[in-house]
Amino acid sequence: MYPGQKSGDEYFRYILDAYSDMIVRLCYTYTNNMTDAEDIAEDTFCELVRAKPSFDSEEHEKAWLLRVAVNKCKNHLKSARVRLTVSLDDDDMPEIADTSPDPHEDTESGRVRAAVMALPEKYRTIIHLYYFEDLPTEKIAQITRLPRATVGTRLARGRALLKKQLGDESDV
């Protein structure tokens, strides 16, 4: 337990206030679905209670949560439930009460997000962690359990794909 770490309900509230946005956003980059992202994020926080890990610092705490969330997202994508799911999001299926942000909103940022979400998952997550969470490649390598060089390569490739995609769109 690092100095100043709270406990009990106070700790839970602190964790949710401090990290829930971060975890939900990360899960969203994996699942591209707000409901699934919230479910995984919820499970990640419950895991914190179940596992009761001991943290040396807030950085350690943050890295633990990110890593568990990444693993849960990967498990989610691997799970039979997702693989065997038949999508019901056809045109005749109305988007009712779905609070997912619309990635196709007609703005510049919406187009950028849509382009990021269109990237393969292996590039998407790294780009998110690098550009949005401002994590260095070394930390990303620890969280994703990838070699640092691989993280660098994926970052460069993802960036190139993104630039190409958005550049092409701009031309259009």
């Binding site: 949710l16 942000p101 940022s109 949005f132 958005l166 550049g167």
Partner: protein
Amino acid sequence: MSEKNIINEYRRSVETISASDAFKERTLRKMQEEAAKKAPAIKINRYVMTAAATAACAVIAVAIFSSSPDEMASTSSPEKKEAVDIYTMAADAVPDEVPAQAEAYDEKNMIAAPEEEKSAEEEMLPGNTAHIRTYDDNAEELEEEIYDDDMAVEEEVMEAEEAEEAPQTQAAPAVETAPAQTAAETAAAPEAKPKKRPDTVPAEEKTSEQTAVNGEGEKPQFQSVLAVPVPAKDESPEKDKDAVIAAGAEQGNFYGTAGMPVMTDDETEGALFGEEAEEASPVDELPAETISGEEPISDMNDLSPARLRMKFRGCSVTVTDAADTNDITILDKETAQQMLRLITDADDSTITTSQTAPTGYSYIVDMTKGEHSMRFYVSKNTVTYRTADQNGIVYVTYTVSDTKALADKLIK
């Protein structure tokens, strides 16, 4: 678009994604529930029970190895009594001639160890099946095994003797005194001289165990009962290890007694994600609490149409006509989609709850996914969903525009 712009726009767009207050409240409640479940008393009890069990085993083991059969028999502990019974039975199987035979060896400065010198440690030598089996519950099995081992050794001896020349058979001592000696053995070694060792081997260099292991000469008969090695020649360590690993892998025990980890492809893949976090995050197939309909709920957020729709992707639907009890199971995408539409079309404001089951419904729709299912009562304008809260079962009703047409379509 420049890279800097891309980053800025991406940041701006992602910032619009945030965890809702409802999510925070729901998660906080779940975390509190998890914390309540994780009662420390359970952990303490587990440790206490483990320690107690270990201590009990140690006491029994000490009692068995340090007490004579008579001392043990004086106690009334069932475990000890059982051990005494088996021990006594094994001891009874020793022929009466053995001590005399051993004494005779001593008189002639031979090296067969007297019975009383055989310590527990010696009896624990690898392959001493008889001693190990004293832990077995089934005394009859033990008896049969001793008999089988005895017969197997005798057969081996017979075969060896048949293959060997006559001078070798002369080296066998105590042939006539062995009570379990078969007629064939006796016939195979008619000139064997009892109580005499072969001249070529200095007597003091050979122990009774050595004679048994080397197969030279006839071993004292009691060895065939208490100290006969199990047929270790067939059990190579590699063979054993493979068998243990295979058995462990079948049972999902990846660290068998051989101590060698065996990982399936899935495990290997999982290991790449990190041991610590992988342990903490098993594959979440389908949370029961959101789909069973029987788990307590405390707010209506858990029942939002979007969540329900997501949870019921890929489920199977069974429709029962209230008038006609014939069930129709429908698995196709179109039907499931339309059924879900009944719910997702509903406005949150039209959701009402009741403590009593609905009446006047036309169809019962059971939506099933794996072992979880939810039941919906469908009438012309409502879909009622059965669930539970702190007060017990409640029925949550969505008011929808018109379900008749859909229901008619479902029951073709």
